[in-house]
C-alpha cells in the first residue's frame, strides 16, 4: 500500500515570494494568498515534478529535512495534502492514468 497519488494543479501559474525561508503564494485561479513554510512549498515542488504517492512524499520530506518518519509526521502531512486538495493546489491522480 503506497497511499493515494497526488499531483500539483497549475503550479506554473502561482506567484511565489520568498521571505527568509517562508513563502507567500498567490494563486490566480482562486485569488487567494497562502502562506507556506519550506516544507509546505516542498510538497508543491515535489508534486509538480511528477505524480507522487503519499509514501513517496513522506520519504522525500523526511530525507530533505533530516527527520525520522513517524506516524505523527505522516498524519500531519496527509492533513496538509487534503488541505492543499481543498484549496485546489493539488489533486488526486486516478491510478489508471498513471501508466
Amino acid at each position: 500500500m503506497t497511499g493515494a497519488y497526488w499531483r500539483s494543479v497549475s503550479f506554473s501559474s502561482l506567484q511565489i515570494e520568498e521571505w527568509g525561508g517562508e513563502f507567500t503564494v498567490f494563486q490566480p485561479n482562486s485569488g487567494k494568498t497562502h502562506f507556506l513554510n519550506q516544507m509546505g512549498l516542498h510538497i508543491l515542488l515535489c508534486l509538480d515534478r511528477a505524480p507522487t504517492s503519499e509514501d513517496e512524499i513522506f520519504v522525500f520530506l523526511t530525507d530533505q529535512f533530516q527527520l525520522t518518519l513517524d506516524q505523527n509526521f505522516s498524519q500531519q502531512t496527509i492533513k496538509t495534502l487534503h488541505r492543499f486538495d481543498e484549496l485546489g493546489l493539488i489533486e488526486k491522480v486516478r491510478p489508471e492514468s498513471l501508466t
Binding site: N29, S30, G31, E86, G88, E91
Partner: protein, 366 residues
C-alpha cells in the same frame, strides 16, 4: 416614448451607441455613472470604452470609477468561476451532470460582452432526484445554508425552484442550486430532463452549460417570469447579447428557438424578451419569429406591459425619482407574484412580505 428622454436616454444611448460618450459633459458623466451603478452596468461601460481606447479621453474621475468597477467585476468573475471549480471538485464522486447557468455560463460560452459583466452569485442546475444528496454532499464539504426564517425556508423548498442559497464557510460567493428553470408554482410544467439531454460542454472546459436556445429561453423566463423587473435592464441586455451572439454563430438559431419555446410552452416570456429587446436595443430579430410563437399576450396585455416594463427596467433618477416610475415598479411586482403562484398562496406571501417591510426583523441579513 418616455425612455427616449432625460436620464433614460442618457443611459440607453451610452449602452447602444458608446461612441457618443466622447461628447458627454461632466454633469452627464456624473449622472450616467450613478445610473449605471444601480443597474450593475458600470463594468460593461468600462469594457466598451476600453475597446475604443476611450478611457484616457474621458474625464479622469469618471475613468477611475469605471476602472474600479471593472476590477471589481473581474474579481467577481474570478470568484464565481472558482466556486464552480470547487463545486465540481466537491461533487465529482457523485458523477452527476452539473450545469452552470446565467453569468458564468455566458462567459463559458464565449459571449464577448461577458467580460465586463458583474456577477453576484453562482447558479447551477442539477437533476431534481439528486437535489437532496447534492445539498448533503455540499454541506459536508463546507457549504452552509444561511440562516433563514422558517417561512423563507418553506418558501424556498416547496414553492420555489431552488434550495436556499449555500455559501462556503471560507468564501463569500452564494451558490444557488436549481433543478429547473421555471417556478414549480407557476403552473408551467417543464420537463427538466430535456435541458440535461441537450446540455453541452463549454468549449475547452469540462463544465456543462445549456444549449444555445435553452440558454436564451432561461434568460427570458428568468426576466419575465421569475423577476420583478425593477432595475433589471442588465438582464434584458443579456438576452439581447445572447440573441445577437447565437444568431450570428448558428445557422438555424431562430427556427430552433421558436420550436423549443413552443415545445416548452414558453412562447410568452420569449415573446416579451424579443419584443422589449428589439424596442430598446434594436436587436435584429426576423419578423417570422414573433409570428410563429404560441401563447403570445393579447394586444391589450401587451399595451399595458409596454407602458410599464421600459420605465421599470431603468433605474430611478438618483436625485428626483418620479412617482410614475415607482407605480410601474409596484404594479410589476404584483404581476411577478401573480404569474408565479396560485392566488391562495400569493396573498399570504405578499402580506408576510409587506409585514416585514413595515417591521423589519432585527439582525436580518441585508
Amino acid at each position: 416614448m418616455v425612455y427616449t428622454q432625460g436620464h433614460y436616454k442618457l443611459l440607453l444611448d451610452a449602452l447602444t451607441n458608446p461612441d457618443c460618450l466622447i461628447d458627454y459633459s461632466i454633469a452627464d458623466w456624473e449622472l450616467l455613472l450613478r445610473l449605471a451603478r444601480k443597474v450593475k452596468l458600470l463594468g460593461r461601460l468600462a469594457t466598451e470604452l476600453n475597446k475604443r481606447d476611450f478611457l484616457k479621453k474621458i474625464p479622469v474621475r469618471a475613468a477611475n470609477i469605471l476602472r474600479s468597477s471593472l476590477i471589481q467585476a473581474k474579481r467577481m468573475q474570478q470568484l464565481t468561476h472558482w466556486e464552480l471549480n470547487r463545486i465540481t471538485w466537491a461533487l465529482q464522486s457523485m458523477d452527476i451532470p452539473v450545469i452552470a447557468l446565467k453569468g458564468v455560463a455566458y462567459s463559458l460560452v464565449g459571449l464577448p460582452e461577458s467580460a465586463g459583466r458583474t456577477y453576484v452569485d453562482l447558479d447551477i442546475m442539477v437533476p431534481k432526484d439528486v437535489l437532496v444528496s447534492v445539498e448533503l454532499e455540499l454541506n459536508q464539504r463546507g457549504w452552509v445554508c444561511q440562516k433563514l426564517s422558517a417561512y423563507d425556508e418553506h418558501y424556498y423548498r416547496v414553492w420555489s425552484h431552488e434550495i436556499p442559497p449555500l455559501t462556503h464557510v471560507e468564501r463569500e460567493i452564494e451558490v444557488d442550486v436549481h433543478h429547473t428553470i421555471t417556478q414549480p408554482s407557476s403552473g408551467i410544467k417543464v420537463n427538466s430532463g430535456l435541458f440535461f439531454e441537450a446540455a453541452v460542454l463549454a468549449e475547452g472546459t469540462s463544465y456543462k452549460i445549456l444549449s444555445s436556445v435553452d440558454m436564451v429561453l432561461h434568460c427570458a423566463v428568468n426576466l419575465f417570469q421569475n423577476n420583478e423587473l425593477a432595475g433589471d435592464l442588465r438582464d434584458l441586455l443579456d438576452c439581447h447579447d445572447l440573441l445577437v451572439f447565437f444568431s450570428e454563430k448558428e445557422a438555424c438559431f431562430w427556427e430552433n428557438l421558436i420550436e423549443r419555446a413552443n415545445q416548452f410552452s414558453l412562447g410568452r416570456p420569449l415573446f416579451y424578451a424579443l419584443h422589449f429587446s428589439v424596442l430598446m436595443f434594436k436587436t435584429p430579430v426576423p419578423d417570422i419569429v414573433a409570428s410563429n410563437l404560441n401563447n403570445k399576450p393579447s394586444t391589450i396585455v401587451l399595451w399595458v406591459m409596454s407602458k410599464l416594463v421600459p420605465v421599470a427596467l431603468f433605474p430611478l433618477h438618483p436625485d428626483n425619482p418620479s412617482k410614475r416610475d415607482r407605480v410601474a415598479r409596484t404594479l410589476l411586482y404584483l404581476r411577478s407574484h401573480w404569474i408565479r403562484m396560485p392566488l391562495y398562496l400569493l396573498l399570504p406571501h405578499l402580506i408576510y412580505k409587506s409585514y416585514l417591510a413595515v417591521f423589519p426583523r432585527k439582525n436580518s441579513q441585508s
